[in-house]
């Protein structure tokens, strides 16, 4: 086993580590690996600190003690039963959203590509609006089921409508736009005609919050999430081949049609999972891959870095939402991801264009 700053005979222009054994050989760019590990570590640390806050504030040492097995029984209930699932959700859901966004942006070759391109978010929202406003039901499981069914049905419909001897990126985007617009109209209609209290509770759901996550809703999500991550890892070589264009992909041994479909399903599945458990948490799928790319200076979209960035973003947003709740009022984490993610992206864009000032175009 060896880890070298440069791989033997080839200069890649950046430092990478090579691992070569009988069963496994892999080369990883060190910056991507380092940044991802850092972001993931940050995400976990922040999530742990967030466990402090709530109706019964705890100190960091109390939290750590309880997590490590000790602590008073009352603290154990607060930390392990109530707040730990939320903390885990912050990291896991954030990573899933980052993963989904990376997959979609790679397939659509568009920095605006996100699972909502295929109409998923809009479909989930419509289904929940219908369930909450028309049927008057607001139980967690009925909302979760509605979100998944609505989202998947919409994604499926968009895919079918865009299918004409295969699916091209442009047609998929346009059909997605059309379907999202129609669903959006329907949502607007229902929201404006509904009773104001009902409409506001839909509004709250749509802001996205992980505060309601319990072990009961988290465990199936984690199991499914692991399956999704493993599938994504298995498909990542095919994803890289698709980046070069369909012709090049075919000649390197990949069939673009089936692979793209599988990746789409994965991307949609990530959003479905999170939306079902927490409501729509916006912007992370869109922003995490872009931020990750700029920080790691990697080629194209890096799935690993995007996931780690997503986890860090959601964990930070979660902590912020709890801190604000201490001094002002409770704000759904979805609103914070949107504002945080947006502000960070703005800052990064400014820095990037400033750095390029003076460089020849």
């Amino acid at each position: 086993m060896s880890a070298l700053p440069r791989t033997g005979g080839v200069d890649f222009g950046y430092r990478s580590g090579t691992l070569r054994s009988r069963l496994l050989s892999v080369r990883v760019p060190l910056r991507v690996l380092g940044v991802s590990a850092l972001l993931l570590g940050l995400a976990i640390a922040v999530a742990v600190v967030a466990i402090r806050y709530g109706d019964y504030p705890l100190t960091v040492s109390q939290v750590l003690q309880t997590l490590l097995g000790g602590g008073e029984p009352f603290h154990r209930i607060i930390v392990l039963d109530w707040r730990l699932p939320v903390a885990i959700a912050a990291v896991a859901f954030g990573a899933l959203l980052g993963l989904g966004g990376a997959i979609f942006q790679s397939i659509t070759r568009n920095p605006l590509g996100s699972p909502d391109v295929i109409g998923f978010d809009a479909g989930a929202y419509t289904a929940v609006v219908v369930v909450m406003l028309v049927f008057g039901s607001s139980g967690t499981w009925s909302i979760a089921a509605a979100a998944i069914v609505g989202g998947l049905a919409t994604a499926f419909a968009v895919y079918l409508l865009a299918w004409r001897r295969g699916v091209q990126g442009f047609r998929l985007i346009i059909v997605g736009i059309g379907v999202v617009a129609m669903l959006g109209s329907l949502n607007s209609y229902l929201i404006t005609r509904a009773d104001i209290t009902d409409a506001m509770s839909v509004g709250f759901w749509s802001a996205g919050s992980i505060a309601r996550v319990t072990w009961a809703s988290l465990t199936p999500s984690l199991v499914l999430g692991t399956v999704i991550v493993l599938a994504a890892i298995a498909l990542s070589p095919a994803l890289k081949r698709l980046e070069l264009g369909d012709d090049a992909a075919v000649t390197q041994g990949t069939r673009p049609g089936p692979v793209r479909l599988a990746l789409l399903v994965l991307g949609v599945a990530t959003t479905a999972l999170v939306t079902a458990a927490a409501g729509p948490i916006g912007f992370i799928a869109l922003v995490a891959p872009q931020l990750a790319r700029r920080i790691t200076r990697s080629a194209g979209v890096s799935v690993l870095a995007a996931s780690a960035m997503g986890a860090a973003l959601l964990a930070a947003a979660h902590l912020l939402s709890l801190l604000i709740a201490q001094v002002y009022r409770s704000i759904p984490v979805g609103l914070i991801t949107v504002c945080l993610g947006g502000l960070y992206l703005i800052w990064l864009l400014i820095r990037e264009t400033r750095r390029q000032a003076g460089a020849p175009r």
Binding site: V10, G13, V250, G300
Partner: protein, 267 residues
């Protein structure tokens, strides 16, 4: 010419896009170990034919045979190890560096757990060496000139280590020095035993470098054979509509096309 059977054969194939048929009932053999150039006027179906050979397009009738077996019966990775394509336009991911892009050519040999064996590393190093990109291997592809960038794509194809290389208009948009530099590179590949099939738009270059020409017009093969036999003034007139004389190249002796002066023809 070697006596080996042709590795690539097209049998009675009809190829097209959606509703448009480009070539009907085409039959063709690519001699093993040859440097074949496919030439013809714009829209004659050269690129379409090449893409059918590369398995990017599937013929609606007829078939393409690779090493005696229908190409559709191979697993895609198996085909990718025997035959590689340099497409006419390719997309490079933003921010990718030369060595990374060349390394992508190794993907038919990589699996989930084996992604960077020493054979992969060696193949990439050889490819960079062969295309004289070793000093540039750490640079961003976006920052290279057109000629250098095309060499990177060729290096990626070379790293794929296939016996057959399909090239779709590889010299278009390059300046003259880089065009010939690239063609010389293909010639060295050919000398090392690879079968090259290139769509070229320049007749003189095709005649100079290829040992087997395939001339196409409006979706069918007009004729094929060695350049000295194929490139005649009558053929150029018939296929391209250009009155000319064909003279031997002063340096290599291969046929070159010299158009007649329309002003003196009128007299």
């Amino acid at each position: 010419m070697t006596a080996h059977p042709p590795r690539l054969v097209v049998e009675d194939a009809t190829i097209g896009y959606d509703q448009r048929t480009i070539a009907e009932r085409l039959s063709l053999e690519i001699p093993d170990g040859s440097f074949t150039a496919i030439i013809g006027p714009n829209g004659c179906g050269k690129s379409t034919l090449l893409r059918a050979l590369a398995r990017v397009l599937t013929p609606s009738t007829g078939r393409v045979l690779l090493d005696g077996k229908a190409i559709t019966q191979y697993g895609s990775k198996e085909v990718a190890r025997r035959m590689g394509l340099l497409p006419q336009t390719s997309l490079a991911p933003d921010g990718i560096r030369v060595a990374d892009l060349v390394a992508r050519g190794r993907s038919p040999y990589q699996s989930l757990f084996q992604q960077w064996r020493s054979s992969d590393e060696q193949a990439v190093a050889e490819a960079l060496e062969a295309t004289r990109l070793t000093e540039l291997s750490g640079r961003l592809v976006d920052e290279l000139s057109g000629g250098q960038r095309q060499r990177v794509w060729v290096a990626m194809l070379f790293a794929q280590q296939t016996g057959i290389m399909l090239l779709d208009e590889p010299t278009t948009f390059l300046d003259i020095a880089h065009q010939y530099e690239l063609l010389e590179l293909f010639r060295t590949f050919h000398d090392e035993g690879k079968t090259i099939v290139a769509v070229l738009h320049d007749l003189d270059q095709a005649a100079r470098y290829a040992d087997h020409l395939v001339v196409m017009r409006e979706g069918s093969v007009v004729t094929s054979g060695p350049p000295a036999e194929v490139v005649t003034a009558e053929l150029v007139q018939e296929v391209f509509g250009l009155p000319c004389i064909v003279a031997p190249d002063p340096v290599t002796g291969t046929p070159t096309v010299v158009p007649l002066d329309p002003r003196s023809v009128a007299r």
